[in-house]
Symmetry: C2
Subunit: 534 residues, 2 copies
């Protein structure tokens, strides 16, 4: 019998959120310096004392209007991103407590032509939620109400500023699940999730937000309220305008409320962790999982050897490895979620027996309880945090047709070695303090991600950000993806980081059609300027 | 044990497609006469011989350009809808065989300001796919190629003119399923399905087309090609413009190709047919099904007593009833689709035991094989056809929050009886030829639909179309729905039939935001005029 059991997996604390990682301590350089070609658009008005007085009059609450102090520390958290890559120079943060207040803000800013950056949990990875120059930050943090849950249909109505984790906990108590999950759930807001069309860990099972978001209330750039808070699954009465705001990253308006279709919460969750001898084997395993686990397959995550070495090296020996053999080229985490524990376990067991007996999978374990399941997930979720250990990380979040998915990592690695920016493979060590590597800027090139969605995270870990590394990576990575008709940003979005590269994934015609939308709804261009489309 | 078995369900022929029903024989009145307030927009050019010659030169194939003959019979099928409600006066049908030919057509029509009606399978219910005056019909019937299926990801790339049934059969042979199914599958085209955002029978399980359509190629009104045939599940690079065309009913462009995410085909399908004592019981049954059948629940269809009486009366005694007691107020059809027959049957059995023992369900049967399953589906799918038996049908396809869902049928029935347009309930008979009913125009008011999506079909069967009935129904039905924040068109769309009523489901602001989109992409208004937005 090839039945697997997980013998001695230790108990571990909860997974730390990756946005609380060490990199937060760094003080970022001003974005205006990092991107010297960017100039403040002088068509935007300068903020005056009269503007501030106006907002103080319009918004309720003692902490609704935050002005910067002289050393910039008061607004520091609103001006910078968590990775320490972007830093803006906003001198005003507005924290409205209602849709009506958001409407007043935008109507006024539109009239005065004051530029605005909407900000949710500020957990993004592409600099989309922080200002570049002196844009006014509009934080949604005070829109905190969960309005209703229809316990027959599963439709949840809630404010944009509700934390994803809060929403999911509320649903858990009532037998439902939020159709989205991601590492930053303790800090990110559902409005920001929808504005960036977050993908995350449950997309394979519950589909994209374009299908799950039933209704939306949003304030358009001129203060018009898009009132489409439909709670019905079907409503074919006109163009589905709200779809444009899903993934618009704050450039078309500010989402204030959402109606989200939430599925019943699965009663049973199983997690397996498998080791594989090649990427071809990982692809075969995915195909078998999709066919044999079918409706209960809820995650199929890929991790390469280097990513697991990094987690082990950073977390230390206490972080017990799931498999004896931790030098296999690939590892996969498979999760099932279903309504019947016995049925699900039986399906998973049959799947595992098949892939082991066929030699598709070299080794594997199955969690026997929730603690073990969490520990296995830790090997996946710890990667983004651990890879930041050396200093900085160049992060690429791409979609590539599955056949070619991992070749990108190999090609990037070869290129960096060839350019002498990274130690040759033979001399690489998993230890962060290895002396042979010290001479090189690049410490690790790792690949991991949501294999079920053909979504790869390519991370290049460096001791410090370095122009030579950047030049080796870009536009190389984008050209590589463009040539294979992939997406240069699968789930992270464009923001400032990817703005200049959209044409590797979209034609000039598509960009033109998009720009027309932007000009239509935001003719003065006040919403989140300098980003998204160029 | 309350285990159910279906003892003697007879073998039946395949379900006849409802679009082949008897009503097709009627010759419809010209739409221009039915809607006397409509006037031809004289800004549109008149078709000339030079235009026809131009198209003959541009399009390949002997049947690419069809002109009307003197008695109008040549183009009759393109000018009328299948229900016999709408009849246009087009004198030219174009049948392009490629995206490039569609592009040439629209570029020329835009330049000349010739109005155009795109036409797929012409199976719609709101007059959206036939001309009103002399618009040129552009049929997509020759765009027939299935381009590719990625057998790892399940992404299918195909032409807009492929029949839904053809696409699904292609997928069935390869272990996949199209995420949409509906009664007209033998005639409707996938391009038309997406253009009308068809909902159908699998939405409960596989979600809406806004989530399933990964990529699209379309020709915009000025001939610009929207080239977004992305085959990736994740691609966050700019506004998702294609979403606007999903449900745009031919008013923003012509869809030419699609990339659709297709799930693995379920290995096991079970069907149960239940009788229930009240609508409250039906709601409880749905909640239990959603929670207990969870990931395998693929349909939960509601039928009222009157709908089943009508099917029985029209089909005759050979059409053996599933339950002995056919005078219960409600019947439900439940379908499960999963990857393991034994598991699924076990789950279904436990669900049935529970709802029977709790008294939620009064009686029920479970199909023991595919033939019996088909026979049970027949009692649901035969409704739209049988209800047309008397002559005409006023059809409403609405979404209403589930608590109130069936009250609409009761209120409409009471209103028609009160206005003496229908026999009092006590004297109603299920026989189409009952003499006591003959004095009345309205023969039956029935309610059925996709309970899982809170989507009700209200059908009012009449001996002939009658202005008094229409005035009793409208705007009454729309006001009723508007007051409950429902949708006046859940899946059928707006077309011409619902154009004037959109404001019962959408605010003036939403309509204004929609109109801006129409003016942006179709400034000359040539695409499917007179319909959709007013």
């Amino acid at each position: 019998m090839l039945r697997l059991a997980l013998p001695r997996l230790p108990r571990l604390g909860p997974v730390r959120r990756f946005h609380q990682s060490g990199s937060r301590r760094r003080r970022a350089q001003l974005t205006a310096k990092t991107y010297p070609a960017l100039r403040r658009d002088e068509r935007f008005a300068q903020l005056t004392d009269a503007d501030v007085a106006h907002f103080r009059h319009e918004l309720r609450g003692s902490n609704a209007v935050l002005e910067d102090d002289d050393d910039g520390s008061e607004l520091a958290g609103y001006n910078r991103d968590w990775m320490g890559k972007y830093r803006g120079q906003s001198r005003l943060v507005l924290r409205p407590e209602s849709t009506e207040e958001v409407r007043r803000i935008l109507e006024y800013c539109h009239e005065r032509r004051l530029a605005v950056v909407p900000q949710g949990g500020n957990t993004g990875l592409v600099g989309g939620s922080v200002p570049v120059f002196d844009e006014i930050v509009v934080s949604l943090a005070r829109l905190q109400t969960i309005h209703s849950l229809d316990d027959t249909s599963g439709c949840l109505v809630l404010d944009a500023g509700v934390l994803l984790e809060t929403a999911d906990s509320y649903l858990a108590e009532r037998g439902f699940i939020f159709p989205l999950d991601l590492g930053a759930k303790g800090s990110c807001q559902v409005g920001g999730n929808v504005a960036t069309n977050a993908g995350g860990l449950r997309l394979l099972r519950y589909g994209s937000l374009h299908g799950s978001v039933l209704g939306m209330e949003a304030v358009m750039p001129d203060g018009t309220i898009l009132d489409d808070l439909c709670t019905l699954r079907k409503n074919n009465t006109g163009y589905d305008i709200k779809q444009l705001l899903i993934g618009s990253e704050g450039t078309l308006g500010i989402i204030t409320k959402l109606a989200v279709q939430c599925p019943p919460r699965p009663a049973a969750v199983n997690v397996a962790y498998l080791g594989l001898g090649s990427f071809t084997a990982a692809r075969r395993a995915f195909r078998e999982a999709r066919s044999r686990l079918s409706e209960i397959l809820s995650a199929f995550e890929l991790m390469d050897r280097r990513s697991q070495q990094v987690v082990r090296a950073v977390r230390g020996a206490d972080f017990r490895r799931p498999l004896e053999d931790d030098e296999l080229p690939f590892y996969c985490l498979i999760e099932t979620s279903g309504s019947d524990a016995a049925h699900d376990y039986e399906k998973l067991e049959r799947f595992l027996e098949f892939v082991l007996s066929e030699g598709i999978v070299a080794d594997g374990v199955v969690a026997q309880d929730a603690t073990q399941a969490k520990a296995l997930w830790n090997w996946r979720e710890a990667i983004p945090e651990c890879v930041g250990h050396w200093g900085g990380v160049y992060k690429y979040d791409v979609s590539i047709p599955m056949t070619d998915m991992y070749s990108l990592v190999e090609d990037v690695r070869a290129r960096l070695i060839q350019q002498k920016l990274m130690a040759p493979e033979s001399s690489q060590s998993s230890s962060p303090s290895s002396s042979s590597q010290d001479a090189f800027t690049v410490q690790a090139v790792i690949g991991y991600g949501h294999m079920g969605d053909a979504n790869l995270h390519l991370n290049v870990a460096v001791r410090q950000y370095d122009r030579r590394v950047e030049e080796a990576l870009e536009p190389f990575v984008y050209e590589w993806i463009g040539a294979r008709r992939g997406s240069i940003s699968a789930e992270h979005g464009l923001g400032l980081a990817k703005r200049d590269f959209i044409r590797y994934s979209r034609s000039e015609t598509m960009v033109m059609l998009m720009k027309k939308i932007k000009e239509l709804y935001d003719p003065k261009g006040i919403m989140n300027p300098y980003k998204y489309l160029k």
